[in-house]
């Protein structure tokens, strides 16, 4: 999805941006983090409700519609991005409903889907759990 070739210019444009944002999560010295679900302002990543699900999202905000890439931490500084969904409007190149309102069924389904994909890939392993951002990430700014 982020390496191309892409089926349309629209997809290429959006996924090129997503690739840059994903790479940034790997290479950046600091990442802004929304630790408390539903309290997001402009942060780059966030922990999602329910926190015990251990599902996070990367916000690739512009151009609209923004994308959310869902991931879990396998260990500190190691994350597995498992699914992607559009935030506010459907896109022709991705068969996913937009997430819309923060308490929508689509949000909940996206979190469940991320957990399901993890279980398929890593059935014997749980994502890491922690009570502070330092457990998950070096350079996380709350």
């Amino acid at each position: 999805m982020v390496s191309g070739p892409w089926t349309s210019d629209e997809m290429g444009l959006r996924c090129g941006r997503l690739r840059g944002d994903l790479e940034n999560l790997i290479t950046a010295e600091f990442i802004t983090v929304c630790w408390d679900p539903f309290k997001a302002r402009n942060e780059q990543i966030g922990r999602l409700d329910r926190v015990e699900d251990e599902v996070w999202d990367l916000r690739s905000q512009k151009p609209k519609p923004g994308l959310r890439a869902f991931f879990r931490f396998a260990e500190k500084n190691v994350f597995m991005v498992l699914t992607v969904a559009p935030r506010s409007a459907p896109v022709t190149w991705l068969s996913r409903l937009p997430l819309l309102d923060r308490e929508s069924r689509e949000w909940r389904n996206a979190i469940i889907e991320c957990r399901t994909e993890w279980k398929k890939l890593f059935p014997a392993h749980e994502p890491i759990r922690g009570t502070h951002i330092n457990v998950y990430l070096t350079g996380g700014l709350l």
């Binding site: 444009l13 302002r41 942060e43 780059q44």
Partner: protein
């Protein structure tokens, strides 16, 4: 794991008479630049925080309300060249000096040894491979009945 950039960079390598560089790839590099500038500013801010700078002080210094500072320091997509200039002035009384580096012919460099690589494994990587007939298999550990970790499943050694 390293990822080959060869295919991704093929239009860039074609020279001045090459094909149009696709918009998607231009978008990718625009994003990289935006993220790098954001990271640069954020690192400056974190360093100055240790010397007493706060978002409120920064806002007062450059005449912007706290919500604007929060937005600028929250995500790369909120930055413009003008805001970068304002932030650098307010944070550390500095200005950017442009510099560029060639994208082509770089060594792969997205491989960082993780904590899951033991010291012993790292040492093995540094040693040249021995011919097969010299291999001493006596010290090869017995295969354990343990589920592979997520990293092992993805091919990281």
């Amino acid at each position: 794991m390293s990822i080959s950039q060869e295919d991704f960079f093929n239009e860039l390598a074609a020279g001045h008479s090459g094909p149009t560089i696709p918009e998607a790839k231009r978008e990718y590099f625009q994003t990289r630049l935006r993220n790098r500038l954001f990271n640069f500013i954020l690192a400056k801010f974190v360093a100055e925080q240790e010397r007493g700078l706060t978002k409120a002080k920064l806002g007062r210094r450059i005449g912007k309300p706290p919500e604007v500072i929060n937005r600028w320091l929250g995500a790369p997509s909120n930055l413009t060249l003008d805001t970068v200039s304002d932030l650098l002035l307010g944070i550390s009384a500095e200005e950017l000096t442009p510099q560029a580096e060639a994208l082509l012919h770089q060594d792969p460099r997205n491989f960082l040894p993780g904590a899951w690589i033991t010291h012993e494994e790292q040492q093995k990587r540094k040693q040249p491979p021995r011919p097969k007939d010299e291999l001493d298999l006596a010290h090869v550990p017995q295969k354990q009945n343990k589920a592979p970790s997520p990293l092992e499943l993805l091919g990281a050694k």
